[in-house]
């Protein structure tokens, strides 16, 4: 059966834009200062090293300037955000154990259904903390760890200390510093040597509260010769006020291991999505980012791979659909720091209804990157004259034997194409949706069917709204 057949057979009518009454058991005051950072530590009953890490990070956050390049962030008011909100005191391993508001949220998003059908493990974060997690018994028996980051800090301290903030130190950028100071939740995954996790592990991030900040911290370690696919989905209801999502994701792909990290980002358009994601790929390791961005008002996200070992491979497949009031500034960074490393970037962006999508990329080859190869393909589709697309590729080549290529194209939906589709009986909306879906097919065929179905539905919805 083709993907499209499934798409049309499943009658999706879910809408993620719904808000539940706010429920809270613990919450810090709105705004940020070192006391608030300390009270997060207190709520979490953290040990000294983490308390110190947070305080130092807060100092760094205060010192670092806001980014002066890229989208306008001047409307972010750090004092109008709540940095920690615990919705429930107990974490469930059964959906039935959760408060009704939370259970209903995930039912409506369809998480329990996905869990039953095709996932090896699920983690669900609601506001600041993970409220539900599960993992297949078989994976547990093989020594796979999949838990929330707070638990990992408590229960797998040595492992966490070895890797935590090693790829993205608080000094990396202002939002990484902020995350380091107030982080809460996120996933921790450790896959032991030689273990192949067959079914994907998935985390769902939900922001329900208004004027809120979600700062999850994810750390994944794929030990030598192992493999795993991690998926994250993000949704939130729309509010007229701004919220902030500033995650930090660090990935370590050890020798001969393979890791795929898939994101389906569908935040509401009142959310600033400013995320730092970085992976290190050791000898002959493979790191793949599949990054789909549909939502958020502003996104700044450039998944990176440091190709640190001989023969390491990295790829970023990314798509962005920027509609009204959206600026999606996405891209990729590949740092070739070892011989025979290869990187591949495919970026597809669609801009409509005045939306702006930018590709911002960096390909760097250090002097150790003999015979490095890098290919970037950057395609943009503009659906109307009000929308924009920009490309900012940067190449920093210090090794002459490296081969780096970059291709870019801009497409529009012309009348001839529309006429062809419509002469087969398709409405203009159907025709446009079909062309857009065809344009990003290279990306969507790489994501799990359940999500490509969802993506297809979201795009169709956007297209219908756009023509109206």
């Amino acid at each position: 059966m083709t993907k499209n057949t499934v798409t049309n057979d499943l009658n999706f009518n879910r809408n993620h834009d719904f808000a539940m009454p706010e429920i809270t058991t613990s919450k810090v005051k709105r705004g940020i200062n070192s006391k608030i950072v300390q009270s997060i530590s207190n709520y979490k009953k953290e040990s000294k090293w983490m308390q110190d890490f947070r305080q130092q990070s807060y100092t760094t956050f205060q010192k670092l300037p806001m980014p002066t390049w890229g989208p306008n962030l001047s409307k972010i008011d750090f004092n109008d955000i709540t940095y920690f909100l615990r919705a429930t005191d107990k974490q469930g391993t059964s959906w039935e154990d959760l408060p009704d508001e939370i259970k209903e949220t995930y039912d409506r998003i369809g998480v329990p259904e996905h869990e039953k059908e095709w996932l090896g493990g699920v983690s669900a974060q609601y506001e600041s903390e993970v409220v539900y997690e599960s993992i297949e018994k078989e994976l547990n028996d093989l020594g796979v760890i999949f838990c929330d980051m707070d638990t990992a800090v408590r229960e797998h301290t040595e492992l966490v200390k070895k890797y935590f903030s090693k790829l993205i130190p608080p000094t990396d950028n202002k939002f990484a510093a902020l995350n380091s100071a107030v982080w809460s939740g996120g996933s921790f995954i450790y896959v032991p040597k030689g273990v192949h996790v067959k079914l994907p592990l998935q985390a769902y991030f939900r922001i329900n509260a208004e004027r809120f900040g979600q700062f999850e911290r994810t750390l994944i370690i794929a030990d030598e010769g192992s493999s795993v696919h991690y998926i994250e989905g993000c949704t939130a209801p729309s509010y007229s006020t701004q919220s902030l999502h500033a995650a930090v994701v660090e990935i370590f792909v050890l020798k001969n291991a393979k890791l795929r990290y898939t994101t389906i980002q569908n935040w509401s358009t009142n959310i600033y999505n400013l995320v730092t994601k970085r992976a290190r790929a050791d000898e002959s390791a493979v790191m793949e980012w599949v990054d789909c961005n549909i939502g958020s008002g502003v996104t700044m996200k450039y998944p990176a791979v440091i190709l640190a070992g001989d023969g390491a491979r990295g790829s970023v497949l990314s798509m962005a659909l920027a509609g009204k009031n959206q600026t999606l500034d996405t891209g990729a960074k590949m740092i070739h720091a070892a011989p025979n490393t290869t990187s591949n970037i495919v970026s597809k962006s669609i801009s409509m209804n005045g939306g702006i999508s930018n590709y911002r990329g960096l390909i760097k080859t250090t002097q150790s990157a003999k015979n490095a190869k890098s290919y970037t393909q950057c395609d943009a589709m503009l659906l109307d004259n009000n929308s924009k697309s920009n490309t900012y590729p940067t190449m920093d080549t210090q090794e002459i034997s490296a081969t780096i290529s970059h291709e870019a194209s801009i497409e529009s939906i012309d009348d001839e194409k529309l006429f062809y589709f419509m002469s087969r009986g398709l409405t203009e909306t159907q025709a446009r949706s079909m062309m857009v879906n065809g344009f990003i097919d290279e990306i969507t065929k790489e994501i799990p069917l359940e999500y490509s179905v969802e993506l297809y539905r979201l795009i169709n919805m956007e297209m219908e709204n756009s023509i109206g």
Partner: protein, 237 residues
């Protein structure tokens, strides 16, 4: 019946069709011929409602309904099909995806559609792997034209309009396409309208009328023998 009444059309502010009147009856086969630029493609694009064609005067009547102002997709739903001279490539969309969106599930289930596509592809000798590739993307001329015929066969229109379905097609493929079309319309009330420069495709089909266009008007009409005469003697007598 598909009727064209006193049709005057312009494109890019230039009048290109002048006061054309024509009837296409059910169950008949028509050939439209004429030198390049005589208005053949413009005529069929106007029938299909291409927005670049502006009807200044006259009307199009399909089965007693005035379709002059209908959008293209509504005309398709009324049973008109047009295969363009150069079918465009559609990245990321397979023929099945296109047809699945075009045909409602009440008309045909996905299973039936898949089956039907396979059957027709088999009859047209379309290699299986083309079905799962982006439509027309890196297809040869002949493959594109066969894919058009396949779409026509599955959409099952009343009025099948094919603009140079025989151009860029080798003799073997031409024979397959022509025989397929012959069987497709046999014992039906379908109307087949072919734009062509050559008699070859017509020789396989029971042509009822040959219409010759010149400078945006109908210059001549005749039976099948007119096509043979044109082929041997040209348009200038």
């Amino acid at each position: 019946m598909l009727s064209i009444k006193n049709l005057t059309v312009s494109a890019e502010e230039k009048e290109i069709l002048h006061d054309i009147t024509l009837d296409f009856n059910k169950g008949k086969v028509y050939a439209i011929m004429g030198i390049n630029g005589s208005g053949k493609s413009s005529l069929v694009k106007t029938i299909m409602g291409n927005p670049i064609m502006h009807v200044n005067k006259g009307s199009l009547i399909c089965d007693n309904v005035d379709i002059t102002k209908l959008p293209t997709n509504k005309r398709a739903q009324k049973g008109i099909f047009l295969s363009p001279q150069s079918p465009i490539a559609i990245p990321g969309v397979t023929v099945q995806q296109l047809l699945r969106t075009a045909i409602s599930r009440d008309t045909m289930t996905s299973k039936a559609l898949t089956q039907k596509i396979k059957e027709v592809a088999n009859q047209l000798k379309i290699p299986k792997e083309l079905l799962s590739r982006s439509l027309n993307h890196n297809f040869s001329g002949g493959e594109r034209k066969k894919m058009e015929v396949l779409q026509a066969a599955i959409l099952n229109p009343q009025y099948v309009i094919l603009d140079e379905i025989d151009t860029g097609v080798d003799v073997d493929a031409l024979k397959i396409i022509a025989n397929f079309l012959k069987a497709f319309i046999a014992n039906t009330t379908k109307t087949l309208i072919l734009i062509t420069h050559y008699n070859r495709i017509l020789s396989y089909l029971p042509v009822d009328e040959v219409i010759v266009m010149k400078d945006g008007t109908i210059a001549q009409k005749g039976n099948a023998s007119l096509a043979k005469i044109i082929e041997s003697e040209g348009y200038q007598k």
